[in-house]
């Protein structure tokens, strides 16, 4: 796992400054690339303004007979600076109401977290440099599907805790279009942080994806190397397809970690927009499987992973009341080597967008 070429080992052993000798020209090359690259053609477009957006949700779920009520708010603040910079942050405040025992009173547990606080610099057409705390680019669910107003089923996939969450460090990302295919990539390095708010692991990794606009198919692969503790490696693949003929989305993700186990999920959502009187309705289904890794059961549960091999089927129904507001409900059956259980969810989610700054700026 920790193999390096003999020549690299020799050089770094003889010359401690070898890393810097390579890194400094690399940094200068990026700056050169930035300076030479064509600027963003936003001069003829509307100047962006700061906005406050995000989502809020009220959810109720019953798993294995244990009821739980959640209230969640996740505000997102976007502050554009000039033509190339964007400061963005998302925090999450969550209250969980549940009974400690079957007949007792409901008690509340409050949690807060900072999902990301990052500065983005759009260096050129192909590269955006991000520094700060950012969502770990692994698969597609963590970065794109996580907000409650976006996700089709309120429960996250079983494998979601594998290689996702937030990272503290720097990232290069971007997209390249070649007509018939769009290539997107993200490369990052994260440092170790034990701060309660900025908690992250020392990792390096990346993701590369290809989107075929004509066929509306996206495929991608992700990689993450943990640079601490057990130095485990995680790989993943994702796939999405949006057929042109019908209003359906098909998505799937696979992840495999040396320590945290492996699993796959596949989800389809079908908007009934072709049926009169049912245009605002959506039906969803998801099948998923998880296989435990080397982690002890207690550690797996702490991470949010199942403690035993699990297979789960979920069926959901969403009703879009208006833009950004939907009612959601689902039923799932979980088959586990530990215990089978039913999972019911119902709730409402809402997305808001508010312009900030003086009125004459908007």
């Amino acid at each position: 796992m920790n193999k390096t070429s003999p020549s690299t080992r020799l050089w770094t052993a003889r010359c401690p400054m070898f890393s810097w000798m390579l890194a400094v020209p690399g940094f200068l090359a990026i700056l050169l690339g930035t300076a030479c690259a064509p600027a963003q053609a936003q001069t003829d477009e509307a100047k962006p303004i700061p906005i406050l957006t995000g989502g809020a949700a009220l959810l109720s779920n019953v798993k294995d007979g244990q009821p739980q009520v959640l209230t969640v708010a996740a505000p997102v603040l976007l502050v554009p600076l000039g033509d190339r910079f964007l400061i963005e942050t998302r925090s999450k405040m969550q209250d969980i109401f549940e009974r400690s025992d079957a007949a007792g009173w409901y008690g509340a547990t409050s949690t807060q977290g900072l999902d990301y606080l990052q500065a983005d610099y759009i260096a050129n057409r192909y590269v955006t440099v991000t520094v700060g705390r950012f969502l770990t680019p692994f698969g597609m669910f963590n970065e794109r599907m996580l907000p409650f107003w976006i996700r089709c089923l309120q429960n996250t996939p079983l494998i979601y805790p594998i290689a996702t969450g937030s990272s503290d460090g720097a990232m290069l990302r971007g997209g390249i279009s070649s007509g018939k295919a769009n290539i997107n990539y993200a490369l990052y390095f994260s440092t170790l942080s034990t701060n309660a708010v900025l908690k992250s692991d020392r990792t390096a990794g990346g993701r590369i994806g290809m989107f075929l606009p004509g066929k509306r198919i996206e495929v991608g692969a992700s990689f993450q190397q943990l640079l601490q503790q057990d130095r485990s490696r995680t790989v993943g693949m994702h796939f999405a397809w949006q057929p042109k003929a019908i209003p359906m989305n098909l998505r799937s993700e696979y992840a495999r970690s040396g320590m945290k186990g492996s699993g796959i999920w596949i989800e389809s959502d079908y908007r009934l927009s072709q049926i009169p009187h049912a245009r605002k309705m959506e039906v969803v289904s998801r099948a998923q499987k998880y296989r435990v890794g080397k982690l002890a059961s207690a550690d797996a549960v702490n991470l949010g992973l199942p403690a035993a091999d699990t297979f789960e089927m979920d069926f959901g129904f969403n009703y879009y009341l208006r833009d950004g507001m939907k009612a959601t409900t689902s039923y799932g059956r979980q088959f586990s080597t530990a215990k089978d259980s039913n999972i019911w969810t119902a709730g409402m989610s809402y997305r808001f967008v508010v312009p900030l700054g003086p009125k004459d700026m908007r």
């Binding site: 064509p38 983005d120 050129n124 192909y126 989305n249």
Partner: protein, 102 residues
């Protein structure tokens, strides 16, 4: 640890060099590439709008339903955010922004 630093630094150098070469190569063609959305005449406007709608459905529709259109300055911020979040290409971003602010 030093071995790893050497590998990361070499990767960093490689990425930087590729970007610099790529950017330099793009300079010659950037005028053509950037001009296509900008020089839209009245005759092209409809074609650009259709193209923008297609790009919107292909990129944004993969994750969420179409939102209402917001005022142009708000939309400019949202599209910049989504460019980073969803790694939308530069060309797609311009066409989507144009479509969403018309």
């Amino acid at each position: 640890m030093k071995n790893r630093n050497g590998i990361y630094a070499a990767l960093f150098l490689l990425v930087g060099t590729m970007l610099a070469v790529n950017a330099a190569a793009q300079n010659g063609t950037s005028a053509t590439a950037n001009a296509s959305p900008a020089v839209a005449s009245a005759a092209d406007a409809r074609a650009l709008r259709i193209e923008g709608e297609q790009r919107f459905r292909a990129n944004c529709g993969r994750c969420h339903n179409a939102p209402h259109k917001f005022p142009p300055r708000m939309m400019a911020t949202i599209v910049r955010h989504m460019r980073v979040r969803a790694t939308i290409t530069d060309d797609d971003m311009k066409l989507i922004l144009r479509y969403m602010t018309e």
